[in-house]
Amino acid sequence: MSDPVNSIADWLRMILSSWGLSEGMITLILAVLGVVVLATFVLIVDILLVWIERKMVARFQDRIGPNRVGPFGIIQPIADVIKLLIKEDIMPMGADKFIFNLSPIIALATVLLLWAVVPFAPTVIGADINVAVLYVVAIGSIGTLGIIMAGWASNNKYALLGAFRTVAQMIAYEVPMIIALLIPVLLARSMGMQTIVAAQSPWYIFVIPLAAVILFISSIAELGRTPFDISEAESEIVAGFHIEYTGMKFGLFYAGELLHALTVSALIATLFLGGWRGPFVDQVPILGPVYLFIKAFLVYYLIMWVRYSFPRVRIDQMLGFNWKFLTPLALFLLIVVAILDKAMTDVNTVWYVLVMLGANLLIVWGTMLILRRYARTERVRIAEERPVAVPPETEMKELVGQE
């Protein structure tokens, strides 16, 4: 039983060829149709995502969230979109008009582009290119460009400073991210998404969980979400790089960030949680996207949970965490996985999974030991330097008041 998307595509191909169009033209028309359907679907999911986000943040903060505008407040995002569309579009004096307008377009367009390589079902994927992982990394980096454009073109010192810090954070966290993306590529021997999903006989999260954790942390930092949201820093530099944006342009940044979070969740679900794999998916292909979205929303829920639980990390702590902890850890994990994988070429799957899992957990345990020792020395060091409010010659008895 072939899936509905391909059946419709074949039927359209038949109709168009019966009208006498050439092969190339048919491919072009079907591609345009596919792009429009995919982008519209993704944008509708984005609207739903705004509602989910607001309800979840409310629940985490022990309140209800929007519940007036429709049943359970479900129409709230649509009301928000209408409001943003009719707001006045103020451009600051001296702003670089073209780039000011272009940067929200780039910020959202790059996120939409990532959905071209997300596999929805065994036969439904936008473009099954064999360098999909590299494509994801490349397009994700263009989003960072959109942010520096926004900060620069705003003619605002604080937008520019916010943009600098955001870009420093984003390029820093790209390094552990691409290393953590390299590890499933290594295990699946291919960068193509469908191949990676098909190769996950146990899901990769049970084989290389540490790579999933590193990818999760780096992705949260890439997205610019708390605890790494120095770019927005609502209480620090007002709104960071998008201070001067009003109306729908701001809405595009905001919606783009949420959509990027879901995109990254879908990618983590594809690479580590088995994507569209699940019971009966071969017989009933329509279950593929259902499983994918369940897993993607699970990861998205984790991202939200982390967001509403941790305080903001300072920029120097954030960069130190990346360069001094995540990058060496990711490189070490890559070395261990590569050597173990080659050494266990002819071992049967169960032993392979157990040894890999054991190695991962061993690395985690070793890391925690090192971290605990480092934390202990740091605590001792900080305790020694604490300033005292009384002169050092004061005796303890005087302080307590017995003298």
Binding site: T27, I86, P92, M93, N155, R189, I335, A338
Partner: protein, 118 residues
Amino acid sequence: MPDDWIFIGIFLLLAPVFPAAAILIPRLIAPRKPNALKSETYECGIETHGETWVQFKAQYYIFALVFLIFDIEIVFLYPWAVAFDNLPMFAVLEGVLFILILVAGLLYTWRKGVLEWV
């Protein structure tokens, strides 16, 4: 496979259309009454002084350099990972040696204090 790249090419052309439409619609229906006070640069209510394009801190450049080195390294490792089946253990260890040389570079920058945000 060329069909896939045509899809991506068309996506590249059409993806900016959606946010561009979202920006053009307000141009039709939103009010536009610019005045001097509204267009001022935002600085929490006080007036701005001096040039907007402040001096660039050199530390950003240094972080970008370190990022560049590791980015290129990992991009070189992607073909090594994809061709893993055809590599004997010796080639795997060579790749590991490559990574270790760059880890040594990272340790050097760490000890030299390059990775501090001052």
